[in-house]
């Protein structure tokens, strides 16, 4: 999409009045055009402000109860999984991937149930230190793809490389693509690019990127071919929180 075409669509884009393909093209162009990026940021803030013109309406009380139950379950799982696995135990294990836990999803959550897991495994191999974090799906379904069973491990290495291993990942149709992100506590996410899972629903790759200092590694399902400049937050599929 040329600059003029993209710029003409920016107002519509800011209030969600574009088709999926237009949205994709605008995002692709804005990723390479600082002028459009600035204009989009300026107009996008109105998306939240226009909501103030809405009459408040009391939601059903059950919604609060349900949400609190889900977030409390998230918190408990997060707390339980913070306890570090002993170094000896980790060293004995031939394959740490085999220990990636399957996620247990609650029975009552309508949309999503907990999936942010964090287990830190410290393995010292001579001078190489490897810290392993685990996580999983943060949605039951994204863009119509059932992703609830996905699990992940991220190995942050002292040699500045990062290993990413994913399991139970659905193979996507050609129109969609997985994309991997490093999420900082502050600032813009960094794309590590798109990827495809193998026929056995796994993915494994070593990236020459230092993940230390980032808050999380995340996977989104984007429109193919992936490699977007910014993640589509509503399409967040999987997350592994890192200690910062």
């Amino acid at each position: 999409m040329m600059h003029d075409e993209a710029a003409e669509l920016l107002g519509a884009y800011a209030v969600g009045a574009v088709s999926p393909s237009e949205r994709e093209q605008v995002e692709q162009h804005a990723g390479t055009c600082p002028i459009c990026t600035e204009e989009v940021a300026e107009l996008l803030s109105l998306r939240g402000e226009l909501a103030l013109l809405t009459e408040e309406r009391e939601p059903p009380p059950a919604l609060r109860t349900r949400l609190m139950s889900i977030v409390e379950q998230d918190r408990l799982e997060w707390q339980q999984r913070q306890a570090p696995v002993s170094i000896a135990q980790a060293a004995r294990a031939r394959s740490w991937w085999a220990r990636v836990p399957r996620l247990a999803y609650g029975v009552s959550a309508a949309v999503v149930v907990a999936a942010v897991l964090l287990v830190v495994v410290l393995v010292s191999r001579n001078t190489l230190t490897i810290t392993t974090y685990r996580g999983g799906a943060v949605a039951r379904e994204v863009r119509g793809i059932h992703v609830a069973g996905a699990t992940a491990a991220v190995e942050v290495r002292s040699d500045r490389a990062t290993n990413v291993l994913l399991k139970n990942m659905p193979v996507l149709p050609p129109a969609l693509s997985y994309e991997l992100w490093l999420i900082p506590a502050q600032g813009a996410p960094v794309s590590l690019g798109g990827f495809e899972v193998r026929a056995d629903h796994t993915f494994q790759r070593r990236y020459a990127r230092d993940a230390r200092g980032f808050a999380a590694v995340a996977v989104t399902i984007e429109r193919a071919p992936g490699d977007w400049p910014t993640p589509t937050l509503s399409d967040l599929t999987l997350e592994v929180k890192l200690a910062v």
Binding site: E8, L67, V111, V112, A215
Partner: protein, 188 residues
């Protein structure tokens, strides 16, 4: 009874949510769930669908708190943007009754009865109603009606370029008016 979280800023609550503070989540929910549900209901005209959207949106807020960038937007703007985004997605997945949506948009024109008493809402209202009627109409059909620019063009029997222009120019004028108000407030 007020809790400590009740006096924290929205941004501080989101930062606490990064540490899995469920009390902070509860406080943020209590602040904005009525507005969120009102927005979703206005867009979807279906209480069950609105409830689903608000649930999805608040869970996204909880689980994506680490992605919130306070330097870029207020937490309230971020939360309500997510609600709007989810509601648009819901509308796009369903068969939109253009006639019904047009009625909804007509209803949304009656902003006098829908403006929150807060100062910020009054400023947004002032900025919107200062626009030419055709720009207001395009923005409201897009934002509250969930119509795409091409659907608005069909509904109003206008070229799509005209609708895209009205949306873009109208939003820029609103942004400029709101920024000017903000400047007046923070710069003596």
């Amino acid at each position: 009874m007020n809790t400590a979280d009740d006096v924290l800023s929205d941004e501080a609550l989101v930062l606490r949510m990064r540490e899995m503070d469920t009390g902070a989540f509860a406080s943020l929910y209590d602040r904005y769930s009525r507005l969120a549900f009102g927005l979703a209901y206005r867009m979807l005209s279906d209480p069950a669908a609105a409830e689903d959207v608000v649930q999805e949106a608040f869970l996204a807020v909880w689980r994506q708190a680490a992605t919130f960038q306070p330097a870029k937007s207020a937490a309230r703007t971020w939360v309500l943007s997510i609600v709007h985004h989810r509601a648009i997605d819901r509308l796009r997945r369903s068969d939109v009754d253009l006639e019904g949506v047009h009625d909804l948009a007509d209803d949304s024109m009656d902003v006098e009865h829908q403006v929150d008493a807060s100062l910020d809402a009054a400023k947004v209202h002032k900025a919107l109603t200062a626009l030419p009627a055709e720009q207001q109409e395009a923005i409201q059909l897009a934002y509250f009606g969930g119509l795409s620019h091409s659907e608005i063009a069909r509904t109003l029997n206008l070229p799509t370029g005209t609708v895209k222009g009205r949306l873009r120019i109208g939003l820029h004028k609103m942004r400029a008016m709101l920024d000017h108000d903000h400047l007046e407030k923070v710069v003596p």
